[in-house]
C-alpha cells in the first residue's frame, strides 16, 4: 500500500505496489465477468462524459467563478480543498470564489494515477493529482492569456493573471467572465508552462482552508444517510452472528406484522427487511427469526487465535522473506534479546455507519452514496447483478469518515444494497442502513498481528543482527499475487525501515494466517503495528545500551542515510523541549515513522491518571513535501494522532466462541473530549512533490506513548491496547 515507497530494486521485486493490487482486484472481477481483462472493460456501457472547454477538472461559469471537479471523495481528509488549491494556484483564480464538485465514476478520465483504478486511499489523492491538476490549471490559464492577447493585440508574454483578473501592462484588464467565450475557443497547450513553486502565492499559505466547513456546521451537508427520494424504501439486513455462517431458514411472520414493513427476503449476506422508514425496518429486523448454518464459521475465541499466531510465528509456517540481507547463517550466534508483540482486531468505527442508496431496473443501475472506490464498487456490483461495470452509475456524496473502511474490494454493503434494489426492481430507490451493531460486528477489521523479534546487539550497543517474524491476515486475500510476491501492506514500515537498513544482518519473514473474519486496511495499514514494534524496540535497545533514545535514532538514521527522518526528529526534539524538566509523574516519549511518502516524528507527554495513560501534549513534526494547506496538514496530524491514540489506549475487537464481543460504542471504547491531547504541528520546509497526510500522523503516537511509559515506569509494552477491558 506504500505508494510512495522508496523500495530498492530487489525489495520492489518482492512487494507489489498498491497499483498491482487494486488493478489485480479489479481485473480479477472483470475477468470473471466477461472472460477477458483490462480496465477498458469498465468503460463498456459507460455514459459519455461531456466536459466544457476547460476539460474534465475545471468548469467556469458565466460569472467567471471557477469550479474544480474532484475525482476523489471528501470524507474529512481535506482533499477537496487541496485539489482545488492546486488548480487555483496555476490558474490564478480567485480562491475565495472557487467551488468544488465531485466527479462522476469514470476510470478513464478520473482514475487515480497511482492506482490504475478510480479510488481514494493510501494517502494518494494529492500526490497523484499534483501534476495532473497543475497542468489543468496552467492550461486553462494559458487559454485566458491567449484570448486576451488576441483581443488586445499584445504579446501573451506581457499579460499577467491575478485572482481571476487578466491584465496587460498598458492597463487593460478583463475578468474570466469577460474572456470566457473567447478563451473557450482556444486550444490549450499540450504541455502548459507550470509555475516555479517558489512563486506560488496560494499554495502553502493559511488561505488554503476547507470549502465545506459552513455546510458541515449548519446541518445542510448531505451524506448517504440523509438521502430521501420519492417512493424510497429503507432496508436493514439480519447478518450472521458468526463470520462464515449462512442463512439456514427464517420465519418472517412477526416481522411482516410490523407497520411499515413491506417485504422480507433472503439475500446472499443474510435476510433483508425492506420497509417504508428506518424505524420500521429496524423493528421488522428485530422481530425476524433466523436460523443460521454455522458449519464453516469462525468459532474460536481471541486467546486461541493469539496462540495460533504464536505457533505460526515460532515455526515460520509458510512464511516468505520480506527483508533478508547479510550473513544470516552466522549472524545470530551468541546472546539474543527477544521481543514479542500482540495486536488486536480494530474496528474503523466511522461516525456514519455503512450505508448506500441503490436503484436497479434491468441493466440500469444507479448508486448514490459516499463511494471511496468507484472502480472496485462498479466491478463488484456488476458481477453481483450481471451488468456491465460501466453501466453502474455512481453519484458520490460526502461520507462520515472512512479510515479505509469504505474501500472494500468486496464492496459488501454496496453489493448488498444493489441486490435488494434489484429484487425491489423498477428503479425504485432503496436505502440500505447498517446500524452501529451491523457496522461493528461486520468485520473488515484491522487484522490481528503477532510480531516476534530476536536481536543481537553489537559491542557498540547498536543492532548487529535482527530477526523479525510477522504473522497476520492479508487484506488482499483472494487477489492473485504475482509469483514470489506477497501483500507488502502486512509488513510495510518494517519493510523499508532505516533501522533494518542500518543493521548488517537482517532475517525478516512474514506468514499469512487465514480466517473467515474479513480484514481491511485501517488508517495507515501496516504501519499501525510495524511502527509500534520498530519504535518501541529501538527505545528498549537504547535503554539497554544506556544511550538517549534520540541520540540512538540519530546514529541509526545517519548510518542508513535517512535524512528526512533525521530532519523531523530534530524539529520535534527542538519544538518539544526534549530533555527539559517535566512535572513529576510526567514523561516524554518519541517515535518517528515514514508512511505513504511522508515522515512524521511525534513527542508525547504522558501521565498516569486513574491507572490509565493520559496524553496531555503531542509535538508533531512532518515532512510531506510541498505543503499545500498548512492548516489542513495540521488538522490531519491532529486527527491522525487522535485516531491512533484512541486505538492504542482503548480499542480492540475480541471474539468469544466466534462472536464479536463489542457491539456498539458502549463496548468499544473510543477517545473522548476529556482524554484528547493538544497537538502542535510543525511542517518541514520542502521543495519535493507533495506526499500524503491522511494516514502518516497515526503510526507514531502509540509507540511514543509506550516509550514515555518505559521512561516513566521502566516497563515495556508487549500488547495493545494499553487499557485492557
Amino acid at each position: 500500500m506504500n505508494i510512495q515507497s522508496k523500495l530498492s530494486g530487489d525489495r520492489a521485486a518482492l512487494a507489489p505496489t498498491r497499483r498491482d493490487l487494486v488493478v489485480g482486484a479489479v481485473v480479477t472481477g472483470s475477468a470473471l465477468l466477461v472472460g477477458c481483462s483490462p480496465l477498458d472493460l469498465l468503460n463498456i456501457g459507460a455514459k459519455k462524459l461531456d466536459f466544457g472547454a476547460f476539460g474534465p477538472f475545471i468548469k467556469i461559469g458565466a460569472d467567471g467563478a471557477v469550479t474544480v471537479i474532484s475525482k476523489h471523495i471528501e470524507f474529512g481528509q481535506g482533499t477537496h480543498a487541496g485539489l482545488a488549491a492546486i488548480v487555483a494556484e496555476e490558474l490564478d483564480a480567485d480562491w475565495s470564489t472557487v467551488k468544488v464538485e465531485q466527479s462522476a465514476a469514470n476510470v478513464k478520465v478520473y482514475g487515480n494515477l497511482l492506482m490504475g483504478a478510480q479510488g481514494t486511499g493510501g494517502s494518494t489523492a494529492i500526490a497523484n493529482s499534483w501534476m495532473q491538476l497543475r497542468k489543468a490549471g496552467a492550461g486553462a490559464r494559458a487559454m485566458f492569456v491567449n484570448a486576451a492577447a488576441a483581443k488586445w493585440a499584445v504579446p501573451a508574454s506581457e499579460i499577467s493573471v491575478k485572482s481571476g483578473v487578466v491584465s496587460h501592462s498598458s492597463g487593460k484588464s478583463a475578468s474570466f467572465a469577460d474572456l470566457l467565450a473567447d478563451a473557450g475557443k482556444i486550444t490549450p497547450p499540450a504541455e502548459p508552462v507550470l509555475k516555479d513553486p517558489k512563486s506560488f502565492t496560494l499554495i502553502g499559505t493559511q488561505a488554503v482552508r476547507r470549502k465545506d466547513s459552513q455546510v458541515k456546521s449548519d446541518g445542510t451537508a448531505v451524506y448517504t444517510q440523509d438521502i430521501h427520494m420519492p417512493d424510497m424504501l429503507t432496508a436493514m439486513v439480519a447478518h450472521a452472528p458468526l463470520f462464515g455462517a449462512k442463512v439456514k431458514s427464517f420465519d418472517d411472520t412477526e416481522a411482516l406484522k410490523i407497520k411499515g414493513v413491506v417485504k422480507v427476503f433472503k439475500i446472499s449476506s443474510g435476510v433483508a427487511v425492506v420497509a417504508e422508514n428506518t424505524w420500521a425496518a429496524k423493528k421488522g429486523r428485530d422481530a425476524l427469526k433466523v436460523t443460521w448454518d454455522d458449519a464453516k464459521a469462525e468459532k474460536r475465541s481471541t486467546a486461541e487465535i493469539v496462540e495460533e499466531y504464536k505457533k505460526i510465528s515460532a515455526a515460520r509456517e509458510g512464511s516468505k522473506p520480506f527483508d533478508v540481507h547479510g550473513d544470516v547463517a552466522a549472524g545470530f550466534d551468541g546472546d539474543l534479546i527477544k521481543f514479542g508483540f500482540d495486536f488486536p482486531y480494530l474496528s474503523h468505527a466511522t461516525m456514519e455507519p455503512m450505508n448506500c442508496v441503490a436503484q436497479v431496473d434491468g441493466q440500469k443501475v444507479k448508486l448514490t452514496y459516499g463511494c471511496q472506490g468507484p472502480t472496485m464498487d462498479q466491478t463488484a456490483v456488476a458481477m453481483a447483478l450481471g451488468v456491465l461495470p460501466g453501466a453502474v452509475e455512481i453519484e458520490t456524496l460526502f461520507a462520515g469518515g472512512s479510515f479505509g473502511r469504505r474501500a472494500s474490494p468486496s464492496a459488501e454493503y454496496v453489493v448488498e444494497c444493489a441486490l435488494i434494489a434489484k429484487k425491489i426492481g423498477g428503479f425504485r430507490p432503496v436505502k440500505l442502513v447498517w446500524d452501529r451493531e451491523d457496522d461493528m460486528t461486520g468485520g473488515r477489521y484491522r487484522p490481528m498481528v503477532r510480531h516476534d523479534l530476536a536481536i543481537k546487539v553489537g559491542a557498540d550497543g547498536y543492532p548487529a543482527a535482527w530477526r523479525h517474524t510477522v504473522v497476520t491476515q492479508s487484506v488482499m486475500k483472494g487477489v492473485p499475487m504475482p509469483e514470489g510476491k506477497f501483500d507488502a501492506s502486512a509488513v510495510e514500515g518494517a519493510l523499508g525501515s532505516p533501522y533494518l537498513k542500518a543493521t548488517p544482518v537482517v532475517d525478516g519473514h512474514v506468514a499469512l494466517a487465514d480466517s473467515p473474519v474479513p480484514v481491511l486496511w485501517w488508517r495507515s495499514v501496516g504501519a499501525t503495528h510495524t511502527a509500534f514494534v520498530m519504535e518501541h524496540v529501538i527505545d528498549q535497545l537504547a535503554a539497554k545500551a544506556k544511550i538517549d533514545p534520540v541520540d540512538y535514532r540519530r546514529a541509526l538514521y545517519k548510518k542508513a542515510g535517512a535524512d528526512r527522518h533525521l530532519a523531523v526528529l530534530e524539529l520535534a526534539v527542538a519544538k518539544s523541549g526534549w530533555g527539559s524538566a517535566l512535572p513529576a509523574g510526567t514523561a516524554r516519549g518519541i517515535a518517528v515513522h515514514e508512511s505513504f511518502g511522508s515522515v512524521v516524528a511525534e513527542v508525547a507527554e504522558v501521565t498516569m491518571k486513574d491507572g490509565e495513560p493520559r496524553v496531555g501534549r503531542v509535538v508533531c513534526a512532518v515532512d510531506c513535501g510541498i505543503a499545500i494547506s498548512p492548516n489542513q496538514i495540521a488538522a490531519q496530524m491532529e486527527g491522525g494522532i487522535v485516531y491512533g491514540l484512541s486505538a492504542a489506549l482503548y480499542e480492540a475487537i475480541t471474539f468469544k466462541d466466534g462472536a464479536v464481543e463489542q457491539r456498539n460504542l458502549d463496548g468499544y471504547r473510543v477517545l473522548r473530549h476529556n482524554e484528547a491531547p493538544t497537538v502542535e504541528t510543525h511542517i518541514v520546509s520542502s521543495g519535493a512533490n507533495p506526499s500524503g497526510v491522511g494516514e502518516p500522523g497515526t503510526p507514531a503516537i502509540a509507540p511514543a506513548i509506550a516509550n514515555a511509559l518505559l521512561a516513566l515506569t521502566g516497563k515495556a509494552t508487549s500488547s495493545l491496547p494499553f487499557v485492557k477491558a
Binding site: 456546521s217 424505524w279 456514519e352 462520515g400 469518515g401 487522535v642 485516531y643 476529556n674 497537538v679
Partner: protein
C-alpha cells in the same frame, strides 16, 4: 399515533408509532436531516438536540415522551450562530458527521455557562464522539464563541 411536536418554534403534527425515537421522526418524516444517526444508544452524541434547552440524545428519546416539550435542532440554530461562525473560522469539521451534535451540545453549554472552563467543556462535551479527532479545534471554537457571545 398522531402527536404535535414543537420543533424550532413551530408546531408540527406527526404521524408515527409512539415508540419511534425523535431522531427518526426528524429525519424520515420531517426530512430534517441535520441531526445524525451514529449509534442508536445515546453513546456518540451525533443526534443531540435540545429539549426545553437541555441537550438530549434524540436517537433514544421516543416521541411519546415529548408532548409539550420545546425541541430545537441544528436547523433551528440558524446557521449564523456564534458557534457555527467559530466552527467555520477554526475549520473544525473534517468528515463533519458528528458536528451537528457537537454544536448542539456546545450551544446548551454556553446557554448555561457563558464562559466555560476546560473542565466545564469536558463535562458537557464528553458524550459527543468525533472519530476524525477534531477535539482540540472544537474546544478552541467553543472558547472563541464564548468570547463573541460575552462581548
Amino acid at each position: 399515533m398522531s402527536i404535535a411536536l414543537e420543533i424550532n418554534g413551530k408546531t408540527l403534527q406527526v404521524e408515527a408509532e409512539a415508540d419511534t425515537p425523535l431522531l427518526w421522526v426528524l429525519r424520515d418524516e420531517l426530512k430534517m436531516t441535520g441531526s445524525k444517526f451514529g449509534c442508536g444508544i445515546a453513546q456518540c452524541g451525533a443526534c443531540t438536540v435540545h429539549a426545553d434547552g437541555q441537550p438530549i440524545r434524540s436517537c433514544s428519546t421516543p416521541i411519546e415522551a415529548l408532548a409539550g416539550v420545546k425541541i430545537t435542532t441544528i436547523e433551528g440554530l440558524g446557521g449564523e450562530h456564534a458557534l457555527q461562525a467559530a466552527w467555520v473560522k477554526h475549520d473544525v469539521p473534517q468528515c463533519g458527521y458528528c458536528q451537528s451534535g457537537q454544536i448542539m451540545a456546545a450551544a446548551a453549554l454556553l446557554a448555561k455557562t457563558p464562559r466555560p472552563t476546560d473542565a466545564d467543556i469536558d463535562a458537557a462535551m464528553t458524550g459527543n464522539v468525533c472519530r476524525c479527532g477534531a477535539y482540540q479545534r472544537i474546544r478552541a471554537a467553543i472558547k472563541d464563541a464564548a468570547t463573541t457571545l460575552s462581548a
